[in-house]
Symmetry: C2
Subunit: 396 residues, 2 copies
Amino acid sequence: MTKDYPPLKSVPGFSWLGINLGIKENAPDFGVIASECKCSSAGVFTRNNMPGAPIIVGREHLQDGQLQAIAVNSKIANVATGQAGIEDAKNMCRWTAAALGIAPELVLPSSTGVIGQRLPMDKIQTGCESIPEKLGSDPEFIENFARAIMTTDTHPKWHCVSIDNVTLLGVAKGAGMVEPDMATMLSYFVTDAQMSPELLQQMLKRVVNKSFNRLSIDSDTSTSDTVIIMANGLADVVDAENFENKFTEAAVSLAKQITRDGEGSKKLIELTVSGASSQQMALKVAKSIINSPLVKTAIHGADPNWGRFVMAVGKVFEYPVSLDDLSIRFGSGGHGMNVNAENLESKKVNLDAISKYLQNNEIQLEVIVGNGSYAETVWGCDLTKEYIEINAFYTT
Amino acid sequence: MTKDYPPLKSVPGFSWLGINLGIKENAPDFGVIASECKCSSAGVFTRNNMPGAPIIVGREHLQDGQLQAIAVNSKIANVATGQAGIEDAKNMCRWTAAALGIAPELVLPSSTGVIGQRLPMDKIQTGCESIPEKLGSDPEFIENFARAIMTTDTHPKWHCVSIDNVTLLGVAKGAGMVEPDMATMLSYFVTDAQMSPELLQQMLKRVVNKSFNRLSIDSDTSTSDTVIIMANGLADVVDAENFENKFTEAAVSLAKQITRDGEGSKKLIELTVSGASSQQMALKVAKSIINSPLVKTAIHGADPNWGRFVMAVGKVFEYPVSLDDLSIRFGSGGHGMNVNAENLESKKVNLDAISKYLQNNEIQLEVIVGNGSYAETVWGCDLTKEYIEINAFYTT
């Protein structure tokens, strides 16, 4: 395990695997999370109107707030595969359940990768049979799982937090087709905390809204976005507020890891829009900036082309901002370089300093749009030639 | 003049110039269109809330529906320059008017290029003084004008049509920051037809809506978008319906020229979404597809990744489409290759043929979303490494 990764801890009662079934050539392509007992569970899924078969089956299986296992494959998303695809997702659950000796409805299926292809069900059936002998709870098994769900991700992603004597671990994958609007990509959280499914579901919605729903890699909303949390209750009841704070911290960490590892991305952009007169305005303006290909390419080239921020603020037709009220701050805190009407007039904008700042690989930006009291923070990445390279020949 | 360009004809009563004033290094950077008499005129401008100074002044000057000249510079857009920028735009009108012996309110100013920089007014003043000696009405003068308004365009753009004994000529520039939402980029039409400003304005809105408002290069809406038509009335009154049809034809031609010459673009995509239950639905779905970076990169790489169309249709949350109703046709007419639930099931989709078709530099696509009676056609282009190259270092 590379030492740059965040620390990784086992969670009592959960075991993992990540193996190659021959869907990808060599890399792991099939992963399982299994709990030793039923878990209170909650999930949020993509708002895309063409959800993948696993989303349809997963929503069904989550209805009673109980899960005991998750089975995921990468490389093929099992989306736009009709009734046959739904049967495939159900079989993935059946075979996983049989191997674990549990009910199929306790398994959540997930698939990520190319849309429109059928899964190689023979390989998956063989893989499922090997689940019992391949599961393990040590960090290396968790890492293998995190690798098995990767598509164009360049590294596995996790974040682990402790709340009192309880552990919460999240694992995620991202890369492309990422502008979650309700949930995102694949992200699985497990904890040994005791919590009701209802509380977990409400909490998950709020957490996702503050983390994954605030990131955009390329403005495309996937058909497979899924965030799941499973709580097996082996540890104590935990203070809910405390847990939610740490849960948010872990989700934000994963959202940032996903953004930083966006397809072709070289830079993580953290943008706060403040001074807005409503939450909705702050978010709309922030999304307009973070999704603008001209802003993204300028940041890629460390071009201090602040005029593109003006354009991106201005194209949110429903929330007019006066140029006199606009201030763009490159860098955080007292060290930020401001661009606003006043220092433009007095020619105090230091473009060289902004350009130098934009050469960092973590960029912090604040755009102040007025005297309102609302602010929103979003994460995005630069747009590079590598994004084109990765996506021009994805299936060929 | 390269022979690939559409034919170019003078319009009686209009003269032109395109010269270098030293704003760009060598290429022409200043253009003027002058009519020998006042013209009925109409215009539509960007909906961006941060319009450039020339837009603000131009709206004022157009209020009475009369113009006699247009003065344009490229390289610097005179946007986000405050009150000083507005004075600059007004001076550009004053000096042009003085040289032509007309009122300043009869001049429409335009600027295109980098946002946030002041115009070099000394150079523009000198340039304006040379207007009378440099104007001419032959096609070469029109071509010089068309070149003078270019920024990252790789070639000048015009389209000329005849309606009875009347001529209509449009000249345009595009390239980047192009997703007009009310008007677009810079585009100027002149005609010797007789027409009232009111009729012209109504007609222009409809024409723009069917042409420039249906194109997207990169989803960014410029702060300088402008479409103007000037009718000097030297020829006859003309059948309005006939004129509008030809006007639409010219505007669609320019919209397509702009799209084909989008920054880094290698391919023109013409996409029709049909079978929608409303105009709004057809347009929303079409925009979602044509703006999707994953669709654009797939087409760039001739990757038959039709699943990305499914994703882009599905992310229009407000208009759900069933996968069973969806059909994606690559190529036009009877030769099109369909992807739909039926032929997917029977494995009759020929991905190789689709990939081969996508190697063309003009791609026609139809996406059928149901049994409704509404359809919309939009134009877009592929997303390439050259787009990144052009935009990563635009001001540096």
